[in-house]
């Protein structure tokens, strides 16, 4: 008897809760209506504002009231049993029309897959941690302990310091102009224009160079909405090649303790491309090989070589 009674009460509470939810929804939509309509219908601006705010407050109050009501009712409804391993979604298995909506079996499948994925990801991360990527060859010799110590300090350099280093480099090379911008937070992006030869987009993280893209002087480096386009590559094969070499150079010039030196030496190396179309290969003496000029610049001597002519 008591059981039956409690079920009855429960059902009633459910019905009330549903209507409370409806009330809540309508009052919320009234809030949005009010916001959508904005201020109007009054002579003066002040009057409009007042009326709008009052109206808005009323609406919010009613939302609050409805929400409280709903919370009260939800306590009456009682909690659904939580002992099912899939919690509420386990109730899906109660759906009698399995054939039409095989949600439950799909859910189980997905759960299995996600478990497997997590397991494999764990394994992979373990393996990868053993083979951690080093940014350059001579980094190998440095003890593994020092690096983590060095990195945090170089990653939290103040933006002014970065600005300073960049502007000093900018002044160093007259034929190279560097434009610094920070479109997203503190990370700087550089647009380096080298003579009338090429443009380089450099993405920095603090004073570390993360990514570079080399494009032609006459190519567009901006996306349609006016931001620097750091993803699309050059239309010319020459500059695609130079982009590859520049990325190699990023990995080569690495000195975590003195990041400003790294940037400076990278820029010095980059500057040697001013004679991209004018310097013949130091090895074969020719300009062209497979239709490309000497795109490689030696890291130390800055001499020009074809990709295949370098040692």
């Amino acid at each position: 008897m008591a059981d039956v009674l409690s079920v009855g009460v429960n059902l009633e509470a459910f019905a009330q809760a549903i209507s409370a939810i409806q009330a809540l929804r309508s009052s919320v939509s009234r809030v949005f209506d009010c916001l959508k309509d904005g201020m109007r219908n009054k002579e003066t601006l002040e009057g409009r504002e007042k009326a709008f705010i009052a109206h808005f407050q009323d609406n919010l109050h009613s939302v609050n009231r409805d929400l409280n009501e709903l919370e009260r009712l939800s306590n009456l409804v009682g909690k659904p049993s939580e002992n099912h391993p899939l919690h509420n979604s386990g109730l899906l298995s109660l759906d009698p029309v399995q054939d039409k909506t095989p949600l439950y079996s799909q859910l189980l499948q997905a759960y299995k897959w996600s478990n497997k994925l997590q397991y494999h990801a764990g394994l992979a991360s373990g393996l990868l941690n053993q083979q951690s990527l080093k940014r350059s060859a001579n980094q190998m010799g440095v003890s593994a302990k020092r690096r983590p110590k060095a990195q945090p300090t170089t990653l939290v350099l103040p933006p002014q310091y970065v600005d300073d280093v960049i502007s000093r480099i900018d002044r160093m090379f007259p034929e190279m102009s560097i434009h610094l911008s920070r479109p997203n937070g503190t990370s700087a992006m550089l647009l380096v224009t080298l003579g009338k030869v090429l443009k380089v987009i450099v993405v920095m993280r603090s004073l570390f160079i993360d990514r570079t893209i080399v494009k032609g002087y006459n190519e567009n480096v901006y996306t349609e909405d006016g931001k620097l386009d750091i993803w699309s590559k050059s239309n010319y094969q020459v500059f695609q090649k130079v982009t590859d070499h520049a990325t190699t150079a990023l990995l080569h010039y690495q000195l975590p303790q003195m990041p400003d030196v790294v940037v400076r030496s990278f820029m010095t190396w980059l500057r040697s491309y001013i004679k991209l179309f004018q310097a013949p290969c130091q090895r074969c003496g020719k300009f062209l090989q497979d239709g490309l000029p000497p795109t490689w610049r030696d890291f130390r001597t800055l001499e020009a070589f074809h990709d295949t002519c370098r040692q």
């Binding site: 010319y236 020459v238 179309f277 239709g291």
Partner: protein
Amino acid sequence: MEMFRSNTVWYIICQPPTACGYSTGQLRFRGVSQMPVAEGKSVQQTVELLTRKLEVLGAEKQGTFCVDCETYHTAASTLGSQGQAGKLMYVMHNSEYPLSCFALFENGPCLTADTNFDVLMVKLKGFFQSAKASKIETRGTRYQYCDFLVKVGTVTMGPSARGISVEVEYGPCVVASDCWSLLLEFLQSFLGSHTPGAPAVFGNRHDTVYGPADTMVQYMELFNKIRKQPQVPVAGIR
């Protein structure tokens, strides 16, 4: 054009400066007089020889091209009172810039305009008259090899083929004088030792950015040279 205010949408004039483009390092030379063609070889055969060499090099065919040029005289009526010499004005089109029209004077400025300029020339009939049968054009095939764009065309004036034009464009470089040696080497790779001297644009202006107008100036000079050359349908000048 619906709107004329400068604050409205225009027809594209040539390429926008930011688009990747064909703005660079073009040169052209007269193939006929310098190619070592055997006596009796026609222009057509020489063109075929050239294109075959390009294909062997690995260049890919990429459509066709056409450049034309119309000559205008200052009409007699305008002479005298202004005391101007009878200058020739050239109005040219290039299929590479299909919405544009180029107007040039010899050793003078080159105006880049949209194709409504042709309509204006009709209105100017009383002042500028097109010379009879002076229309000269070159048509041919475009080839691409790496970043090079090569256009080999047959120059015709009226019904007769008058010569061959070879245009080589190196897109990545925007300063003509920077890449002359590089272009020369490329030319040698398919023309052998019969390469031309550097066109004026490679020498006189250092550091200026090459534009479509520079190409048109070269075409005009080439056409003028061919026009003056006695009409020999077969390669004859050595």
